[in-house]
Symmetry: C2
Subunit: 459 residues, 2 copies
C-alpha cells in the first residue's frame, strides 16, 4: 500500500519515460507469448499457422504482426474444448471464479479466472481507484448486478484490496433501485460504481422517492459497461445530478482488469491507458497495425499479468482515438481522450455519412429540455436511408404545452443535422414511454416494419 | 487444508468428547464476552443493567443468565450510533464488507463485517462444504441474489476457501432462471446453492425449456434462507427433481458463518451444530434458559469467532428442537434433527391448535398430484378462526378433469385435518396462479377482506 499522501500507487511505473516503459512492455510481451505458446493449443496453433513465433518478436512493431484474437475464435475454442476452451493456460483446479457473457442468443463465452489472476485483478484495479482519489477506509457502493457480468466484481475486488469498505448492493431485481436510493442516503458512501445509464435512472428514481441525489454526498463515481461517462453531455448530467466527480473506465470483460483504461483524478475526461497492466494499441480495423497518435481506430488489448485465460492481441471491435501522454494527471501513459465511444459495427451509414449512436446520445444530452431517454430507428425507404430519433422531454417542457414540445423537437432536429451532417426525423414521445435500464442501454432499433408504421404518423 | 481422504476438516474438534468441548466453549465465551464488554457500549450498558459481568460467567449454566439480544435492540443501536451501531467492536477502517437486511418497511439493519471476520467466515464455511462432501476443484453454482442477502456471499466465500471453482451466477433479474438452466446444463457443476423455493422453481423452468434437471449432474445441493431442505417431502421433491444430495443449513444473517448449523454427508436430514464455530442453544422462548434434549424451543446463538459485530446470545425467534450428539456422521455435536422449521411468530392458532406454515407445506408436498405452490389464508369468521389452503395441482391432474381435481382437493383436506388436528378449507387454483419466487417464498396471507370474498365462492 503506498504512502497515503502519494498521488500514485506505483510512482515509478506510472511516471517513467515512455520509451523505457515500451522496452519493459516488450520484455513482458515476450514472456507472456512464450508462456501462452507453451501452455495453450489455441495460441500455438494460431501462431504456427500465421508463421509467428514468440522468439521472433523483438520489437513492439514486430508484435503488430501477431494475428488478433476475435470473440468468435474464443467461442469456437470453447465448443471444441468444453467448457473453458483450449486457451485455458492453468490447470482446471486453479480456476477460482467463473463468469461469462450474458447474451441471450447463441453460446455464451465462459470466463475462467485463476486464483492468482483474481488477486492480480484486485491489485491492479485498487491502483486505479487510488488514482481516482479513493482511499483506505472510504466506502464504495456497487450498483450493478453481481453474476455473469464482471464489472461489479472488478469494482468489488478493487475496493477490497484498497482496504476500503465494499457495499456490494447489486442491481437488476424489481424494486432494488428505490431501495438503493434509500441505502445511499443512509450510508453516504464516498465511491459509487454502476453503468452510466443506470446512474441516470437511479437519480430519476431517487427524485421520485423525494430524495435529492446530492444528499448521498458521493465524491467519486466510476463507470464501465458502456460509453457514456466520457461523453461530455452525459458526464455533465451525472455530475449535475449527484455533485460528484465522474470517471470513465473499462475495456472488455475478457480483458479484466478492465480498469486498465480509466479516468484519474486530474486527467480530465477520457481514459488514461495503464500500459504496464494491459498493453493497449489502437489499430486500423483491417490491417490491425497501430494508427498514429490522434487517429481513430479500434483498440487491441494484450494482458501483461494474466495467466488463466491470457488475451494476446484481442480485437475489441470498439472505436476510439488515442493521444500521446503525459496525461494532465502526471502519468506518462497515452490516453483515450474521449473514452471508447462506440463499436465499429454500431456505426451505420445514412445517405453516405458514418453515424455513431454515441453522437446522437451526446447531442440530445446537450439539449435543455431533454428528458433523459431516447431511441434510434434506422430504416430504408425505397433507395433512401432514413433515421428517426425518438426522445422524451423533461417534465417542464410537457407542462409548457404543445408549442414548447415542438420547439424542442425542432431544436433537436437542427442540432442533429449540424453534428451528424444528415437530416433525421425527430419525435418527442410521452414521458416514461421508453423503458429505463438496470444495466446497459439498448437504444438502436433497426426494424423496417416498425419504421413504416411510425413513419406514416409523422410529418 | 486437510488430507483429501479425511472425512473431517478438523478431526479433533469435530469428534472430541462433548464435555471437553463444552469446557473449551466456556473459555471462548468468557473471552468473547470480555472482548465485547471492553469494545462496545452496547454490550457494556446492556450487561451492566442486567447485573451480569464477563467475570461472573464460570459455567455454561451461568451463561444462560446473560440477557438475549433482540433484532429490535440492534436496530435501535444503529439509530443511536449511525450507521453500524454501538456494537461495532472494530475500528470503522477495519470494515471490509457491508450487507444488510432487505425488508421493504422500516429501517433495515446494517451488517458491517470486518476484514478478519470475512476470512473467518470463509474458513468456517469451507469446513462445512467439506463435510457435505465437496472437495477442491469441484464447481459450485450459486443461484441466489448477490447484494444485501448474505446467503449467496457465504456460499461463495466457502467455495473460494475450499479451492473449488465458484460460479456466482446470482438470481433475481428477469429471465435469469431460464439462463441458469442453460448454464447448469453446459457447466455441470458438482455443487449448487439457492433457497429451497428457488430450486423447485428452477426445476420447473428447466423442464419448460426442455431440459431435465438431472442433466445438470449435480451431486451436492445446499440450501438456506428458509426452512424446506429439512422438511422430508420438500427434500424428497428436490432430490427427485435433480438426483442430488440435499443439505439444509443456516441460522441467521447476523450470525454468519450461518452454516454453523448444517447437514453433512452421513448426518441424514436436519442439521449438525458445529458448536465450536457458533454456540447454539435451544431455549425456552420466555426464560431463555436451555430446554432439555428432545424438547422444542427457540435457538439462541453466540459467535465464538467474530470480532466486528459479535452476537452474544442473539434471540432468533425461530423454532426447532434439538437432540444430543453424536450425529450419524460421526461428529459429536448436537443436532436439529428436523432443521429449523418455523418462527415463533409464524405460528398461528386455529380453534385452539398451534399451526406452523411448514406443516402445511409438508402435507402438500407429500400429496401425489400437488403442483408445487400454495397459499395459506387465515381469518376469523365471527368467533371462529378459519384456515383456507389454496394450492395448484400438477398438469396431469388438470388434464384428467374436474373429478380428479376435486378428488385431489379432498385428499388434501383429509391429510391436513389429520396432521393439523383442525379442519381447513381447501381450494385447487388454476395452474401458475401463484407467483413463483426467485428468493424466499411468502405463502401466508392474513387478510379478512380477501378471505371473505373467496369464502363466498367455496363450499
Amino acid at each position: 500500500m503506498p504512502d497515503p499522501k502519494s498521488k500514485y500507487w506505483l510512482p515509478v511505473r506510472e511516471t517513467m519515460d515512455p520509451g523505457i516503459r515500451e522496452q519493459k512492455i516488450l520484455e513482458r510481451v515476450q514472456e507472456v507469448m512464450t508462456y501462452a505458446y507453451k501452455k495453450s493449443v489455441f495460441y500455438r496453433d494460431k501462431w504456427d499457422e500465421a508463421g509467428v513465433h514468440p522468439e521472433h518478436i523483438s520489437s513492439l512493431d514486430d508484435f503488430e504482426r501477431v494475428p488478433v484474437v476475435t470473440k468468435q475464435e474464443l467461442r469456437a475454442a470453447q465448443l471444441r474444448v468444453e467448457p473453458f476452451g483450449d486457451y485455458l493456460c492453468v490447470p482446471e483446479g486453479e480456476v477460482h471464479h467463473i463468469h461469462g457473457t450474458s447474451g441471450t442468443t447463441g453460446r455464451p463465452t465462459v470466463f475462467a479466472i485463476g486464483r492468482d489472476d483474481w488477486r492480480t485483478i484486485a491489485e491492479n484495479q485498487a491502483r486505479i481507484l487510488w488514482a481516482m482519489g479513493l482511499r483506505p477506509g472510504d466506502m464504495v457502493f456497487v450498483a450493478a448486478i453481481f453474476g455473469l457480468y464482471l464489472g461489479s466484481w472488478g469494482a468489488m475486488l478493487a475496493t477490497e484490496r484498497l482496504r476500503a469498505k465494499c457495499f456490494p448492493f447489486g442491481a437488476g431485481a424489481p424494486g432494488m433501485t428505490a431501495r438503493a436510493a434509500q441505502w445511499l442516503k443512509t450510508m453516504k458512501p464516498q465511491g459509487f460504481y454502476s453503468t452510466p445509464s443506470y446512474a441516470l435512472h437511479l437519480a430519476e428514481v431517487a427524485r421520485d422517492e423525494g430524495i435529492d441525489p446530492h444528499d448521498f454526498r458521493l465524491k467519486t463515481m466510476f463507470f464501465s459497461g458502456e460509453p457514456g461517462a466520457s461523453i461530455p453531455a452525459i458526464r455533465e448530467r451525472i455530475e449535475a445530478s449527484y455533485g460528484a466527480s465522474v470517471f470513465d473506465c473499462g475495456t472488455m470483460a475478457e480483458m479484466t482488469p478492465f480498469m486498465s483504461a480509466s479516468g484519474t483524478s486530474g486527467s480530465g475526461p477520457g481514459m488514461v491507458l495503464f500500459q504496464d497492466m494491459v498493453y493497449h494499441e489502437v489499430c486500423d480495423p483491417k490491417s490491425f497495425s497501430r494508427v498514429g497518435w490522434g487517429e481513430r481506430g479500434t483498440p487491441v488489448y494484450t494482458h501483461l499479468e494474466r495467466t488463466s485465460q491470457p488475451m494476446i492481441r484481442l480485437a475489441s471491435g470498439d472505436l476510439t482515438h488515442w493521444i500521446q501522454g503525459p496525461s494532465p494527471c502526471g502519468r506518462t501513459y497515452p490516453c483515450f481522450p474521449d473514452g471508447v465511444y462506440g463499436r465499429i459495427d454500431d456505426m451505420f451509414q445514412v445517405r453516405g455519412e458514418n453515424i455513431y449512436p454515441s453522437e446522437i446520445d451526446a447531442v440530445l444530452n446537450q439539449l435543455t429540455g431533454y428528458g433523459g431517454e431516447h431511441r434510434i430507428i434506422i430504416s430504408r425507404e425505397g433507395a433512401m436511408d432514413e433515421l428517426l430519433v425518438q426522445f422524451e422531454a423533461s417534465e417542464n417542457i410537457y407542462a409548457e404545452g404543445a408549442t414548447a414540445v415542438d420547439s424542442l423537437r425542432q431544436r433537436a432536429s437542427e442540432d442533429l443535422r449540424r453534428v451528424l451532417g444528415v437530416r433525421s426525423k425527430t419525435e418527442v414521445l410521452d414521458i416514461n414511454t421508453i423503458p429505463r435500464t438496470d444495466h446497459k442501454a439498448h437504444r438502436v432499433v433497426d426494424d423496417r416494419e416498425l419504421f413504416r408504421t411510425l413513419n406514416s404518423k409523422l410529418e
